[in-house]
Symmetry: C2
Subunit: 308 residues, 2 copies
Amino acid sequence: MKLLVVGSVAFDAIETPFGKTDKILGGAATFIGLASSILKTDVSLVSVVGGDFPQEYLDLLTSKNVNIDGVEIVKEGKTFFWSGKYHNDLNSRDTLVTEVNVLENFEPKVPAHAQDAEVLLLGNLHPGVQLSVLEKMAKRPKLVILDTMNFWMDTGGDVLMEMIAKTDVITINDEEARQLSGEYSLVKAAQKIHTLGPQYVIIKKGEHGALLFHDGKIFAIPALPLEEVFDPTGAGDTFAGGFAAHLAKTGDFSFENMKSAIIVGSALASYTVEKFGTERIAEITAEQLKERMAEFKQLTTFEVDLDL
Amino acid sequence: MKLLVVGSVAFDAIETPFGKTDKILGGAATFIGLASSILKTDVSLVSVVGGDFPQEYLDLLTSKNVNIDGVEIVKEGKTFFWSGKYHNDLNSRDTLVTEVNVLENFEPKVPAHAQDAEVLLLGNLHPGVQLSVLEKMAKRPKLVILDTMNFWMDTGGDVLMEMIAKTDVITINDEEARQLSGEYSLVKAAQKIHTLGPQYVIIKKGEHGALLFHDGKIFAIPALPLEEVFDPTGAGDTFAGGFAAHLAKTGDFSFENMKSAIIVGSALASYTVEKFGTERIAEITAEQLKERMAEFKQLTTFEVDLDL
């Protein structure tokens, strides 16, 4: 099946305890596109960049068979730019700069060839933009996946709630799930979020892994324990990208296959954090993905036969 | 095999967002003994209580076939008492009262029938007391399991390090692992702790589950997501108790069986938090343990076959 992605294609400047970068390639749609390409999923991006965006970055995406017909180039505009500095534990960060630039008046255009995509991944963006992409589809996709964050909960109001109501799978982190639901228990939070629309709720817990809730069932997966997290930027986008790409690739939206999709997303995200920005995810092969998925299996397999 | 346990038998007074108790039955050895009894493990406790300790609490342990010959009663003394108040998220708490009482001058006595126990669980206590129990064994147990906490890292100094050096399996939480090792990454922390003695390092992460490290291998298990955590008191002790009891019961100290032991501990701990103090764990049957272990299996099972 086809996967259509809307999200930012951007510049990031990142500082971690291990070093800092100048403006490098970033953006939710970029990470998602690169993650999808590893699964050889038919993926198209909808986004916008400025005239300052290097051709080599666009070429990188194209070379990975990520379709960028839907990435508009506003020649007189500047590309979205984010700069942040991570704290020593890498679990929190300060935003130093946010220049919205061409994203300010972004009116997404969905190329004709992607309007019948069966899977739509709405990457982290203004919920109004996410909603407008859904409305531009020829028909409602079979699966709508929404990635959002606390910023839109603080500012997005009714539009966010309207978007959530039209969503099949929502991915948010634990604090966001608590904020959105007003419940501390993540089990109760997921129950409440189900009533807002999404049949599937994925709660990302960073170094503690992820939870999937559906129809009273729960799946839990730890994160792969890593010796070093070098740069967490894009890990959540990579996770969402791997998840959506696996579902689109297989065309199977069952709970069982969503579990596998979560492992795909987790495995790819565990690569992303090993280097700055997109550097690591851009070099990962299908073989390496399989290796890391096998590591997840080994990490979590146990026997429960008790002789009592 | 026989399991010998040293730890507190105590009074707790607990306040959570859901209610508060007067002085109720508590203490590390109590939770461990009750957890072990569910597995019908041959378990003996070494501890001390005061003349104020109710006979009915001792009778409860005896009725569960927990051997309390090693629980000294100091008639003129008072039982250890701890009182604490949990914050709203139940992840942190304030200690309101600690009355050490008879634990102050506790000189543990190991009954003759337990001096050849193959598995020794040193529950959270002064490391000097833990060490003295190890020294009183007829021969070195086949497996020495140490539970300790940040308080002893702050105050225990060389004695704690001497105890750790003689330990096979250490169980601590994530913050304690970081404190003990000076490493933020839990993978690096475990590597460093291995060099202090323990071949097996278990890192407890509360609502985020647990990790087992051994010889370059890692096992990770999420906690069972619960709608409501009523009272976390004793969850760590229950975990250690279930873990040690399974190993003693099976006599198999392989990495594979330690994984199962961690599931036993996690399953029992997930019951403990459902009511105040020992109330819930005291009523759990082997059948209920098996049910919850099956839930853990369901929670974490996934397929990784990728067609790429």
